[in-house]
């Protein structure tokens, strides 16, 4: 039983020069219910393409992306940039997503409180710091009580101190809501700390070079040397496949 499956997916992009570039070929991967799978790999290898396929922003050329029970899943997504509507308050940005998902919009305030932004409900995104905006984006993704959460390098645009806080915040949200999800990241330590499995991609078209199981229960301690060891292991795999 899986929450999300990539089944023999092919995806080819055509560059402006007309050149065809196969990013994924016969790619398969399963995400179990409640599992967070991190995907790491070099730039341009197709990590974000996987998320775009799962989110319906791209369509596979062959194969399919399937979700549990066949019904349309509730998807929460956090991008590298917060992608909030600047003209709506923090609370309204969340409320719009909740309303569309058929939930109770009063949860918007609860979610903001959960990410430590309770008093910023009526603030507009541009008056918030980058970290605060990304927290609103996290709150929006979890406010809709998602089946699947897609995280596309969510902390890469933040300074390390803020990113560290947000990783812990994400861990708390994950414990509270227990969705399934995929985290795409360049940060192998982040992958080791947050994920249940780390999938290392390599080659062109992308193939799975290695899967690292992180069999640690949550809540986790970010300073545990175990994650640093895993991070070194994953990094070594990446370096090997980068040539």
């Amino acid at each position: 039983m899986s929450a999300l499956r990539f089944e023999h997916v092919d995806k080819t992009f055509v560059r402006p020069s007309g050149e065809r570039e196969a990013v994924l070929k016969d790619f398969s991967l399963e995400v179990a219910p409640g599992e967070l799978v991190a995907i790491v790999g070099s730039s341009g290898i197709g990590k974000s393409t996987l998320l775009h396929l799962a989110a319906g922003l791209e369509q596979p050329d062959a194969g399919r992306v399937a979700f549990t029970a066949g019904r349309a899943p509730r998807l929460g997504m956090v991008f590298q940039q917060p992608r909030l509507f600047d003209w709506l308050t923090a609370a309204d940005n969340i409320a719009v997503a909740i309303h569309t998902a058929g939930g109770d919009v009063a949860r918007a305030q609860e979610m903001l409180t959960a990410v430590g932004l309770g008093k910023y409900a009526k603030s507009y995104p541009l008056s918030l710091s980058g970290g605060q905006r990304q927290r609103v984006a996290l709150a929006r993704a979890f406010a809709i009580q998602p089946d699947v959460v897609l995280l596309d390098e969510p902390f890469s645009a933040l300074d390390e101190l803020t990113a560290r806080k947000l990783r812990l915040q994400l861990q708390e949200l994950w414990l509270d809501h227990a969705p399934s999800g995929i985290l795409v990241t360049h940060n192998t330590l982040e992958a080791a700390f947050l994920a249940d499995r780390v999938v290392v991609l390599g080659g062109k078209p992308a193939r799975i070079e290695k899967i690292v199981d992180v069999s640690e229960a949550r809540p986790r301690n970010a300073d545990n040397s175990f994650y640093f060891d895993l991070h070194r292991d994953i990094l070594a795999t990446l370096e090997r496949h980068a040539g």
Binding site: G56, F79, R83, D86, P125, S127
Partner: protein
């Protein structure tokens, strides 16, 4: 208690002082904004008066004659009737033009074929003078409301469609993707994404459309209608009553300015409140 009273009165005095400071600053800002414009109007009036005295001709009436004419059209109620008729036509023409421009602008922004298909029409529409639409509509539709409404719509739709299309193209595609992921329905996307995002383009387009509309409708009224500001201007022209022509122009200009400052700027300020609050 006495100490408390003193502190409270001190606070009140400081509050009143601060309030007076804010009021004075606001007054200064208002004066800085309004006074240069008023100075220009005063100099223009003085130059006109000097020209009228120097030429001593009925073709250049002095300010008193223009003032008398203005009083006459205002007190007789003629100004309200004619300006009301013109504004009614402008509103209907703007509505029709907006609906057409929204459809064409949306299609052009979202579809490559539609963009290429409408491009010649928009280019032609932007270059054809309002006078041509006015003449053609009078010929086609005769003396009817349709004449002015269609002429205005034809005159404004191209410029407005270009504004709307540019606004839609400028919408951040990342926000469009976010709206897709969170499955916003059509009306939700329109309300929470498209309209707020294209608002600056829409407002500048509507302003341009309004200024074009009034030029087109006046021409239609001159050529083929028996009411409206254009008709009144034409009556003044036929009787060589320059004071009446200037008085009607002034009266309508005041209405146009009131719409610009009272309607467009108020609506724009209200809809872009978030920008000011974001800076706090």
């Amino acid at each position: 208690m006495a100490l408390w009273t003193e502190t409270a009165s001190g606070r009140l005095a400081r509050h009143q002082e601060r309030r007076a400071g804010i009021d004075a600053a606001r007054l200064r800002a208002l004066a800085a904004r309004v006074l240069p414009g008023l100075l220009f109007c005063a100099l223009l009036a003085a130059a006109w008066q000097a020209m009228a005295i120097r030429s001593a001709s009925p073709l250049v009436p002095d300010l008193y004659a223009i003032g008398d004419e203005l009083k006459l059209i205002l007190l007789s109620g003629e100004a309200y009737r004619q300006i009301g008729a013109t504004l009614g036509r402008i509103v209907l023409g703007l509505l029709l033009g907006f609906v057409v421009a929204l459809a064409v602008g949306l299609a052009s922004a979202r579809n490559r074929f539609a963009r290429s298909f409408f491009e010649p029409a928009l280019l032609l529409g932007l270059t054809v003078p309002g006078l041509v639409w006015a003449l053609l509509c009078v010929i086609w539709f005769g003396l009817s409301l349709k004449t002015s409404v269609v002429a205005i719509a034809l005159g404004i739709a191209p410029a407005l469609a270009v504004s709307i299309s540019q606004g839609i193209v400028a919408v951040d595609p990342q926000l469009v993707e976010a709206a897709h992921v969170y499955r916003l329905r059509f009306w939700e996307r329109l309300r929470y994404l498209w309209l707020p995002a294209i608002l600056p383009f829409l407002m500048s387009g509507m302003r341009l459309a309004f200024s074009l509309a009034w030029k087109v409708v006046v021409l239609v009224e001159v050529f083929g209608l028996s009411s409206g500001v254009g008709y009144a201007l034409n009556t003044g022209f036929i009787s060589q009553n320059v004071a009446a022509v200037v008085a009607w122009t002034l009266a309508f200009s005041v209405v146009v300015a009131a719409i610009e400052y009272g309607l467009f700027q108020t609506v724009e300020r209200r809809l872009t409140r978030w920008k000011r609050k974001s800076l706090v």
